[in-house]
Symmetry: C2
Subunit: 240 residues, 2 copies
């Protein structure tokens, strides 16, 4: 098998190097799992259990298993950590600096996901897991701050074009709630009238003909995501 592999990658430089020099990297997946609460965007972090990063938080990640697709690993991590199966995950970028992991050569692929922090199925499986406001993130373990930033950048670039945001919200929501989520993600104030016009021009929402309740002011109409779009946001993993 080494011969076969070398043949597949034969270049002037690699020919003399043995197969063992190459098949010794670990690949991991790190998930930027975002939620929304109290008008803040939050990310799910875990206390690092590596000495090198004691006291620091890290993203949720794990090594990719030998018999596991890269994308599948991201769904597994999300499921293991949150209990959620049915959530959209998107690959963003791969980080492969030599020294990025203190224990060995680990190349990691970053995914982001948005979910409703109050989802009834959400079960954080570990005491050290916690939601952290992204506006108050300091140092993170590994290169996880870079990973977080790249995912946030991607999210901000795409959030107005694609119906990504709705999995952050409960099934039924008002336009005000929706606007507040956008404002939290983009970090800007939006004009309410222009925002409503923009949203209504897309086919994203369905009017439920219901009203908010328990709000200390005039209640607004409730909407849900157009079911036709929901499929696109669903996880693509075959549920085990």
């Amino acid at each position: 098998m080494p011969d076969k592999i070398l043949k597949a990658f034969k270049t002037a430089e690699t020919e003399k190097i043995s197969h063992l020099d190459y098949f010794n990297i670990a690949v991991s997946v790190d998930c930027v799992i975002l939620g929304y609460e109290n008008k803040q965007l939050k990310v799910l972090l875990i206390k690092s259990d590596l000495e090198e990063f004691s006291g620091l938080n890290s993203l949720l990640g794990d090594l990719v298993r030998p018999d596991e697709d890269l994308d599948e690993a991201s769904y597994r991590i999300l499921r293991e950590r949150t209990g959620l199966n049915d959530v959209y995950l998107e690959q963003v970028q791969t980080f492969g600096r030599i020294g990025r992991h203190p224990s060995g050569r680990v190349v990691t692929t970053a995914y982001f996901s948005l979910l409703d922090l109050h989802h009834h199925q959400l079960r954080l499986n570990h005491n050290d897991l916690h939601w952290h406001p992204i506006s108050k993130i300091g140092k993170l373990a590994f290169d996880h701050k870079d990973i977080l930033d790249s995912c946030l950048l991607r999210l901000r670039q795409q959030v107005l074009e694609r119906p990504l945001i709705f999995s952050l919200l409960p099934e039924k929501f008002s336009l005000r709630q929706l606007q507040e989520v956008y404002e939290a993600i983009l970090g800007t104030d939006l004009d309410r009238r222009n925002f409503r016009k923009k949203v209504s021009l897309k086919d994203w929402l369905v009017d439920l003909n219901e009203m908010e309740s328990d709000v200390p002011h005039r209640p607004g109409k409730l909407y849900k995501l157009n079911p036709a779009l929901k499929k696109r946001l669903r996880g693509r993993l075959k549920v085990i």
Copy 2:
């Protein structure tokens, strides 16, 4: 070291599995190197030397070395294959299906690059390397057709927003040449007057006050890329 590594990735599932099960993946880089000639976008391909893919072409790729950053590997491949050092490369996506490489578990990260196919430094280092019009690409080895398509999609999405395209052209070019490149990439015809207006509103071009020569019609003005933008397009690799 195995203990240390396992600690870093401890989850319910991984605890019982040994370090050797994980640090045995190879990571490769595949480069979608695009050039432009005869009003066509072309990609640099090489004949696959794997039996499984005999007769098929593949992208230019290589395994990432143990002591090499992921990004650096992409610049090395470009340099080894084309002789060019000073070229922009951008990471696009990582492909990690289990069975994607017949010889073992290889996760690959795709990069794309645009370069002037008639650049004086360009020296293709192998007889089997050739430029292939993207409009006539059939089957490719591995999952390289998917990789090519994802890079082309990214390119088309970004080419109007960012000054990526200029490395496809010689130093001096006319607006007609520039427009033809855009048309080749986007696969559409553009209105000449609107195109010129759009370009002139950006700060991308510098008028050289020179004219085309050797054209069988009225010569056009020559432009070059605004030098202030050139840095952003340069390769980020420390030249060895």
